[in-house]
């Protein structure tokens, strides 16, 4: 299905920033797989959160109805996006706020820089935010002499460690307590040299370090979990109180929000404030949520701004099959259940958005034909666990398959592309020929003992040639059994003089 020849309007421009792979997923993942510490941390973290989540989700008798409503509200919001954004702008402005629009990362960064400069300050405190991570705001500001201090504990660990976040909820999950203590001792000015690696001591060191910043900061930058069109309200969900500090103490507050975060009504918060905390941290409710609408005289920042960010979102919206990726509320439930994420870790996705959602969102924002992101739709086993976990019912596996199709399409239609079928196409054709006929299948299975011979003495095959090489790059295949199931079954049937043998249809 080419969009070129039909005279269709050109696709909206792609997004930029930290949403592109710097290295294809398979090679990055392969390196990360050697990191035993990372794998152990991840396994522990994802399993703990996953179990907590299941417990609190099962408490709600109407969980499925809430997911259904969440999904319907998001679909409605996308359908009505222009009018909802205009309504949000009108309401936010009427209550003393200022709305800015940014086509892409560069424009958003420029707007924020201008707003910070106008205050005369060269320091900002930041609330953890995916949108500012996506546009690379910290680096941009730092290059221009504005210091941006992350105040979420995990983001602080990442920032002080000159590192990148690896999970959207617990960004420093790849670090253990000893590493964190070492980072603090090395990078935190005035820290107690006797600091131990006890989490409480570490958290208190961060408290002391940030307290002065909070009390003196003039400008804060945040993201937003929701923007309510009906009232012009913004909301931030957090745990530590660093968010509340940033959102209420400084004089100027600048919020960067993706245009897809808008919800039609205040009433919709009743749905999302149940879906989000339970799905993300596995708590009934996160410790703190702040909601503000423009500015309130005498309480909180006087000068309140929001930057509405496109950066490829309209491009994702134009993809009818991929559009629902924009429903994502960044809860991270999909990463905590993903077997690929659990082993490869967040860095392998090369993007602000890791895990199953990252594998679809990043290529949708940049376009799958953008060279860097074309391996992401393959970073999945299509097991479907992410779809089951997603509180807004985004069908991630279906979108992955759709994007793989787009990728194949793009390769075939590339000028000068080989017209010959690829090894993959041939393998698929071969498999369908074999599997559609019992006799052929049986014939092929007789080759099984050969596979046995290909395996090493430990009974695993760790390297396959050709197409199979990609598969064995990151895992070993157990050698096939000496005899196929079909062969064993046939033998069994021959011996069926045995009166206790299972008869057909009796299995269940």
């Amino acid at each position: 299905m080419s969009t070129v020849s039909l005279g269709m309007p050109a696709l909206p421009p792609r997004g930029f920033g930290n949403i592109s792979e710097t290295e294809p997923f398979p090679s990055y993942a392969r390196r990360e797989l050697q990191n035993d510490q990372l794998r152990a941390n991840l396994r522990h973290a994802t399993h703990t959160i996953r179990d907590k989540r299941l417990r609190v989700v099962s408490e709600l008798p109407d969980w499925e109805e809430l997911r259904e409503a969440g999904s319907a509200i998001k679909a409605e919001a996308m359908e009505r996006l222009p009018e909802l954004l205009a309504q949000f702008e009108e309401q936010f402005t009427a209550r003393g706020g200022t709305v800015h629009w940014a086509r892409d990362a560069a424009e958003a960064n420029r707007i924020v820089e201008g707003l910070v400069r106008a205050t005369g300050s060269s320091e900002v405190v930041k609330v953890k935010s995916m949108a500012t991570q996506e546009i690379g705001l910290n680096e941009y500001l730092e290059e221009r002499g504005i210091a941006a201090f992350e105040t979420d504990l995990a983001e602080l660990i990442v920032q002080l460690g000159h590192d990148k976040p690896s999970h959207i909820l617990v960004p420093a999950i790849h670090r253990n307590r000893t590493e964190i203590r070492d980072i603090f001792l090395r990078e935190m000015p005035g820290v107690d040299p006797e600091l131990t690696d006890e989490p409480r001591r570490l958290a208190m060191a961060a408290r002391a370090h940030l307290r002065r910043k909070f009390l003196s900061a003039k400008v804060a930058i945040s993201g937003a979990n929701f923007g309510i069109a009906e009232t012009g309200t913004l909301g931030v969900v957090e745990s530590e109180g660093n968010g509340r500090m940033c959102l209420t103490l400084p004089e100027t507050l600048i919020t960067v929000m993706g245009i897809e975060k808008v919800l039609p009504r205040a009433e919709d918060l009743g749905v999302f404030m149940q879906l989000l905390p339970r799905s993300s941290t596995g708590e009934r409710m996160n410790p703190y949520t702040s909601l503000w609408t423009g500015s309130t005289p005498g309480d909180g920042p006087k000068d309140v701004h929001v930057v509405l960010l496109d950066n490829g979102r309209t491009r994702a919206l134009a993809d009818r099959h991929g559009r629902s990726a924009l429903h994502c509320i960044r809860c991270s439930a999909c990463m905590n259940v993903c077997p690929v994420y659990e082993r490869a870790g967040g860095h392998a996705y090369g993007s602000t958005y890791p895990g199953p959602i990252g594998a679809i969102l990043s290529p949708l924002l940049t376009g799958v034909e953008a060279e860097e992101n074309k391996s992401l739709p393959y970073a999945s086993s299509l097991c479907g666990a992410c779809f089951d976990a997603c509180p807004v019912k985004i069908n991630i596996p279906e979108i992955l398959v759709h994007l793989r199709g787009e990728d194949v399409e793009a390769r075939h239609s590339r000028p000068g592309a080989r017209r010959l079928p690829s090894q993959f196409d041939l393998a698929m054709a071969g498999a369908s020929w074999a599997m559609s006929d019992g006799a052929r299948m049986g014939l092929l299975e007789r080759g099984l003992p050969l596979g046995k011979a290909a395996a090493g003495r430990d009974g695993v095959i760790s390297k396959l040639p050709g197409l199979g090489a990609g598969w064995t790059q990151s895992r070993d295949i157990p050698a096939p059994p000496a005899e196929s199931f079909r062969a064993q079954w046939a033998k069994r049937a021959k011996n069926s003089a045995d009166p206790h043998g299972i008869k057909e249809g009796e299995g269940k």
Partner: protein, 213 residues
């Protein structure tokens, strides 16, 4: 073209819609609203559930009669200096507390350094949600500015029993979201280091809840 017009045009192009506004009524009710709108719990059940949930977050909770409230607040303050919003009902505070009290209001706000030096804060609350153990402050005169319930290390919060609802949608139905809202579910906490929960990072490390009936 301005960025605004450009982005709106892109959205219309992506959706295949007209630039003229949609015909759907703005503010129409949520689609697919098959979820619970009320919990149908009795007052006693609501109180029990709220206590259970707040204790789960390591908050200290006590249910008191209206006549006992002033005494209960006095004992919670354990000789600390404290701030209270100007609109806090006068009979909540025991007369002996007068010389330890600082008063804050939108008109005469205390500076953050002053708040940082104060040991505790006493506020009322707007709505509490039993099922999630959430207390909402909405900036009313008995709750005051957001900063006062944030900077001091100890928050004593009064929850009148008639402000308790069962579930989250009931809570939002009672609130005006255009007021500055703070939802508090237990004291500040982090789990960022090996997922080990540490209570009290930047917000108050101690949360005392007094439910008044």
């Amino acid at each position: 073209m301005s960025a605004r017009d450009d982005i709106l045009a892109r959205i219309h192009a992506a959706l295949g819609t007209d630039i003229t506004p949609g015909e759907r009524e703005v503010g129409a009710s949520a689609p697919g609203a098959g979820y619970r709108a009320t919990s149908g719990r009795t007052e006693d059940e609501l109180v029990d559930l709220l206590v259970d949930r707040l204790e789960d977050y390591k908050a200290r909770v006590e249910v008191v009669a209206a006549a006992e409230l002033a005494e209960a607040i006095r004992t919670r303050l354990e000789g600390k200096t404290f701030v209270a919003p100007a609109g806090l009902p006068a009979d909540w505070l025991h007369p002996s507390l007068a010389d330890r009290r600082a008063t804050d209001s939108r008109e005469e706000p205390l500076g953050v350094d002053r708040l940082d030096a104060i040991g505790a804060v006493v506020t009322g609350s707007a709505v509490s949600i039993a099922e999630t153990g959430t207390i909402v402050l909405d900036g009313s005169p008995d709750q005051g500015r957001r900063a006062i319930s944030l900077v001091p290390d100890h928050h004593v919060c009064v929850v009148p029993v008639e402000t308790i609802v069962g579930i989250v949608p009931e809570g939002f139905a009672r609130l005006d979201v255009t007021r500055p809202l703070t939802l508090i579910s237990g004291p500040s906490a982090t789990s960022d280091i090996e997922l080990e929960r540490v209570e009290g990072v930047h917000g108050p490390r101690t949360l005392d809840v007094l439910i008044v009936r």
